[in-house]
């Protein structure tokens, strides 16, 4: 930019002051406070006692927290396979010359991702009721019989993690479909035509041509998927509150319970810091892993 139209320092400051102040006040300042509180024993009252690394020692030994962490990882894995896998297959179908009504599939498929997670959770709760929609349908199909009291309890201890991950997967398939679809639309159609002439079938085209060409978009989806599931909270809060017991506890839910239900703000802050560190580590680690493995493929 020309120096003559460069604004003076006062103008720059005037423009940036408010947004930077808001951002620092609601993001960085609290984050620093969380780090400080994480070294204190504090139940929310006036008494705060410094206890060094005791909270962190407690955290490392806290079975529930690590169970919650692995539940987050479980959600990440299920959602990567379920959301991105299904989305890719469906996009391949929709992208085929042989299928119709792409616009309708796109509009309908994307719809759930615009609804609040709270609504989605409440709807699926009604679906999962012991005499709810799912069991009723299974009963009509003859797959389960007898009195509804004997029908499966989907949100029971054994299968609750799978049950809570299905709404998550379902909600965002359409979202990833649309992202992949727009990436594929950018591929030159001549590539596919010449592959067809060479006798490539639909599966080969999908795996050998489309997948490598939209690699960057897949990476974006992967990052979104991991980041989204490391912070899973709303669905779980509405559907199970982490229960039964701690069978569907995730990190954010555990942090919320510790801090606000048990008002243990000191240890809650330690959990907050741990959520921060672990989420970044998982996101960073997965990116590093993907880059490392794909480098070899390219070379």
């Amino acid at each position: 930019m020309l120096n003559s139209i460069r604004p003076n320092k006062r103008t720059i400051l005037l423009y940036l002051f408010v947004p930077v102040l808001i951002f620092v006040f609601t993001v960085f300042y609290p984050l620093c406070r969380a780090v400080i509180y994480s070294f204190f024993e504090w139940k929310g009252g006036p008494n705060m006692t410094f206890n060094g690394l005791a909270n962190y020692r407690m955290l490392f030994a806290d079975k529930v927290f690590w169970q919650a962490f692995w539940h987050n990882i479980y959600l990440v894995v299920v959602c990567i396979i379920g959301q991105m896998g299904l989305a890719f297959i469906l996009v391949m179908f929709a992208n085929s010359r042989l299928t119709h009504a792409k616009a309708i599939h796109r509009t309908f498929g994307f719809f759930p991702s615009t609804i609040s997670a709270v609504c989605i959770g409440m709807i699926w709760n009604i679906i999962y009721l012991q005499d709810g929609l799912l069991n009723t349908v299974l009963n009509r199909l003859g797959l389960i019989t007898g009195n509804w009291m004997s029908w499966p309890n989907w949100l029971g201890t054994g299968n609750v993690m799978l049950a809570v991950s299905i709404p998550l997967v379902w909600q965002y398939i359409g979202y990833y479909m649309v992202i992949m679809f727009s990436a594929i639309a950018g591929i030159d159609s001549e590539i596919f035509e010449s592959a067809e002439i060479d006798g490539a079938n639909g599966f080969q085209k999908a795996v050998k041509i489309t997948l490598p060409l939209i690699k960057n978009t897949i990476l974006v989806c992967l990052t979104l998927c991991i980041a989204g599931n490391m912070k899973a909270f709303d669905n779980i809060y509405v559907m199970t509150q982490g229960g039964p017991g701690t069978a569907s506890m995730v990190m954010a839910m555990y942090g919320y319970n510790t801090s606000f239900r048990d008002s243990n703000l000191g240890y809650g802050s330690t959990i907050s810091v741990a959520i921060f560190v672990l989420s970044l580590a998982v996101i960073g680690g997965s990116q590093w892993l993907v880059k490392r493995t794909t480098k070899g493929v390219e070379a």
Binding site: R106, S116, M230, K231, Y237
Partner: protein
């Protein structure tokens, strides 16, 4: 495309024809599962609890099922304890002001980052970038403490600050990228004609950024309208609840009266559903642009 596919269809081998039918079926099954819960809720909200409990699938008034009733709706809308319209107004106000703030600040910061170079550029850029990576749940406790200290919880403006802060980063990057695509010569020419820095920024570049600012607004409308965690922690006053918070409260109040829960959900979903089905093309494009570029 449709012409080509019609032509292709005529010359299909039997196996390809079966394949195409199977693919169509798979897509329709998926699309219908996405929309079915909405339809199922819509017709079940017209049943009273007793009828719903007896049969979860039957459509009211058809095949001998009891007639549809608006009972749930009248009971929800006339009972002041549920203050549904109050919650909707809170959501509309919070979302509206947050969007204005996000769009305005994203434009200012994005423009400055793209056009005014200085030592502060990189730190500022990294600072806002980090905002996209910080998991909001690691901020719930400290934000609650900080806001409580300053008596800023349970105010009409409480939620604006976190919503604007977490909406800004993506907006800033979208605007920054967009402004970089506009030739600087535009502002240079304006400067020669005597336009000040601010005037060029607001009356030349801002109108040109309209498409990207609309994209930012679309993405943030949904995330603000649906946001739950901050509202849960920072708002205790029932008269300031936003919709997601009010819904979780209904869930407790209505107990096992599921048709009533569905009616409440449908009323609160209506604005979003209507907007979505009218503008679905623009909304989908905007959300995707945000996800990929942000």
């Amino acid at each position: 495309m449709s012409k080509r596919s019609a032509k292709a269809k005529k010359h299909l081998s039997p196996s390809a024809r079966v394949g195409s039918i199977l693919m169509d079926v798979a897509l329709w099954v998926f699309s219908l599962t996405c929309i079915f819960p909405l339809i199922w809720m819509a017709y079940n909200s017209l049943k009273v609890k007793r009828v719903f409990n007896a049969d979860k699938l039957s459509i009211p008034g058809l095949f001998g099922a009891p007639l549809p009733t608006l009972d749930n709706y009248t009971r929800i809308l006339t009972n002041p304890d549920y203050h549904l319209f109050e919650s909707m107004w809170n959501s509309v106000r919070t979302t509206g002001i947050s969007i204005l703030g996000i769009v305005l600040f994203s434009f200012i910061v994005g423009y400055m980052l793209a056009r005014v170079k200085g030592k502060w550029n990189r730190p500022l850029y990294l600072m806002f970038l980090s905002g996209m990576l910080i998991p909001i749940h690691s901020l719930l406790v400290p934000i609650y403490v900080v806001f409580k200290e300053m008596n800023m919880t349970n105010q009409w403006f409480t939620l604006l600050l976190p919503y604007i802060s977490f909406g800004m980063p993506m907006g800033i990057f979208l605007v920054e990228g967009y402004v970089k695509g506009i030739p600087v010569s535009l502002e240079e020419a304006a400067a020669i004609d005597g336009s000040s820095f601010s005037r060029s920024m607001w009356s030349i570049i801002m109108p040109m950024c309209k498409p990207i600012l609309v994209t930012v607004a679309i993405i943030q409308v949904f995330s603000c309208w649906n946001e739950f965690s901050f509202a849960l922690v920072l708002i205790e006053n029932v008269h300031l609840q936003t919709i997601p918070l009010a819904l979780t409260q209904f869930k407790g109040q209505f107990g096992s009266d599921y048709p009533k829960q569905m009616a409440a959900m449908l009323i609160t979903m209506m604005p979003i559903v209507i907007i979505y089905f009218i503008f679905s093309k623009q909304i989908i494009q905007g959300m995707v642009a945000g996800a990929v570029k942000g």
